[in-house]
Symmetry: C2
């Protein structure tokens, strides 16, 4: 048995409290909590920690030679970045839950870990996917390759979309419900605009490519424009609408994007309930596997922190990207996808023919159509799903379609992720 590691937790919020409960109240062999740092050490927390453990000065704690591992749980860029950098320079190992920091400043943090031969655990930056991050990160060893990763990585968005689907609510009503229940922040933009998913996808990309170099820009689209109408049509066609992060490596180039997508209802992603996260992977031999886990919450996050601490204490391998090789992203226009398209057309003969005529010119073939009899609206919806089509062709075709006089509003485009048949 290795000697007990002395641990300081910096950040005494919900997650910090969760970690303190596990380390101090429950007690875990090999891990000893010695300090907890926060700017506010007056507020009463739901854990009975003696005052002697508390400090407001992270610099003092990070400089303490008795402490082996620093756990950073304050979030944001600064002082989180300085805390981690300073701790690494002091010869300490670190654990962090800070996905924003790793997505934006991963380059400098991982480089420091690499050059100083220290260790960093960041499962908690990824909560719902931490087994995945671990497996993928270690996979470098086995040179395991993936064809695709489709992942739902934002619990708030999934809660909203699941509620819209289950209860027939509008986006706005479902967002309000999510806020009332504590699943969404008062400013929910990071979650519903796809930025949180983007951060997690960037960390995942670093692990898969084994490079901490910043990957540049890829398309990120959120769920604000998803309507109840689209959710109902998707349901009728056998799909759920989900916010999905996509990574597809192709001959050294990565197709990467974050966007809402139709996924088969009866699939791991399509049936993912509430605030859960889920991931589907297809490896180079076509084997698909997946995992589901809570996407947030103080306890699951604290549990992920403790898993990292145990890996460090017990000398197990921790995955980190450790080269600075550039990551090449594919051109969006060249990616082949299936699409769900909702056209708003005037109720007259020959409209569908005019659309399919344009599709034919752009090599887009149709998989399914829903056109219902008009009731009383001034325009009627026509819903089409396509077979695989190049994103560039699709966009060009829709530009043409949207200029037709019979088309009364911008066509709604949602990607459709499923095996083409």
């Amino acid at each position: 048995m290795a000697k007990t590691k002395k641990i300081a937790v910096i950040g005494f919020g919900n997650i910090g409290t969760g970690v303190v409960r596990l380390l101090y109240e429950k007690g875990i062999a090999g891990l000893e909590l010695v300090k907890v740092v926060d700017v506010d050490i007056k507020t009463k927390r739901p854990v009975d920690l003696p005052a002697s453990y508390l400090s407001t000065d992270w610099r003092l704690v990070v400089a303490d030679p008795n402490i082996d591992i620093i756990v950073e749980l304050i979030g944001g860029i600064e002082p989180a970045k300085s805390i981690l950098s300073e701790a690494l320079k002091q010869g300490k190992d670190v654990v962090t839950a800070n996905k924003k920091l790793l997505a934006k400043e991963g380059e400098s943090i991982f480089q420091l870990v690499s050059t100083l031969h220290r260790r960093i655990g960041f499962r908690a930056s990824f909560v719902g996917g931490h087994s995945l991050i671990h497996e993928l990160g270690l996979a470098g060893t086995a040179a395991k390759k993936f064809r695709r990763i489709y992942a739902i990585l934002n619990g708030t968005s999934n809660y909203i979309l699941s509620t819209m689907s289950r209860e027939g609510q509008s986006f706005e009503a479902a967002l309000k419900e999510a806020q009332a229940k504590g699943y969404a922040e008062s400013d929910p933009s990071d979650d519903i605009d796809g930025k949180d998913t983007e951060n997690k996808i960037r960390i995942l990309l670093a692990l898969i490519s084994n490079s901490y170099r910043s990957a540049g820009h890829f398309p990120v689209e959120g769920i604000r424009d998803i309507t109840q109408q689209d959710i109902q049509y998707a349901d009728e066609l056998g799909y759920s609408v989900k916010l999905v992060g996509v990574i597809e490596p192709k001959e050294g180039v990565f197709d990467v994007a974050v966007h809402p997508a139709l996924v088969p209802k009866m699939s791991l992603l399509g049936s993912l309930p509430g605030a859960y996260n889920g991931t589907e992977l297809e490896d180079e031999y076509g084997t698909v596997s997946g995992l589901v886990a809570p996407g947030a919450g103080a306890y699951p996050t604290a549990d992920a922190v403790v898993k990292d601490l145990l890996d460090i204490a017990e000398g197990r391998t921790l995955p980190i990207p450790n080269s600075a090789a550039p990551i090449t992203l594919g051109a969006t226009e060249a990616v082949s996808r299936r699409y769900y398209l909702r056209f708003s057309v005037s109720d007259e003969a020959g409209v569908l023919a005019r659309i399919t005529d344009i599709f034919w010119k752009y090599n887009i073939s149709i998989a399914a159509v829903i056109q219902k009899e008009a009731v009383s609206e001034e325009f009627v919806p026509v819903v089409i799903t396509t077979h695989l089509a190049k994103e560039g062709d699709l966009q060009a075709a829709i530009d043409k379609v949207d200029k037709l006089e019979v088309v009364k509003a911008r066509t709604r485009i949602i990607r459709l992720l499923s095996a083409d048949t």
Copy 2:
């Protein structure tokens, strides 16, 4: 980097061929294939291995001091047990895909590993759940506790049930289709009678309890009696019918069983397609997580073998049960479950009242009822789902109900696994 490990594979069937392809054709750093043993080394395999690698004498290979790790892939009890025991005694580490051997003779194998301080990798005995086995096995370190594990661990049964549900086929027709497509053996009894699931549940139980002591008897029921009618009623009620292995630890006692069960359609287990395996875990804090992976196939199994080989070569921790403490199983009658019940009753007034009267006496309360107008049958089906009820009470009540004159056939009882409301 540790020195390259020299590996012998014993058993050159489908999985053996898969492992040889990965180690010899693809090549994996740190792992060197040096021998392949089979009783038949004449038959041509789809891999171009020089004759100098081949041997028919496992004793010679196991005794070879140059070989570090023996991979056993022949299945069955003997000579697999002798191969593993001999290899361990010769100071070698071992990897096996043999779930039957570990379920039935795990006590002697694990004890040998423990006393000789050797290592054993057995992810491949578990294919679809190997990440799970790994996490659960290592969890001993963190003293992590689980409230429940619900797992679909047999690909053949899941393929048959999914086909029955999707295509409206009878059990017999779906079994024939599974056999034609290679998902079921000509003698499918191990798979469809729940024995294969039982073997995997026994291995899982050993890991969770950290004891290799044989756990004694628990109820095992297969899927031969599942009818299209029950699948349709389940569907109407929002459930899929699946073959599920259940482990629920309660204060040192384990409730363990294998049986068909209704699980919510829109859940990880309920939406599990084809020959996949899936697992749902709820930990002591109520956090639910899950994973999905192919349940069989040469490549996924070979991949699991290679994962174990890499863990051994790179010095990572491998989970094994390492005490001989007795495992206490709970009394079946005392377990509380929800139930799906299909009664076959004569079409006359007051039948439902007579059933509910008996239920009332046994503290069984009703969650849902489906009774449709009789068409032309001599008896009509009445379907009831219950809230939580003790298995002993339920059985006693059904015994009473089945003696009523208005009840025309034995009541069909299927357990229902879902949060009670």
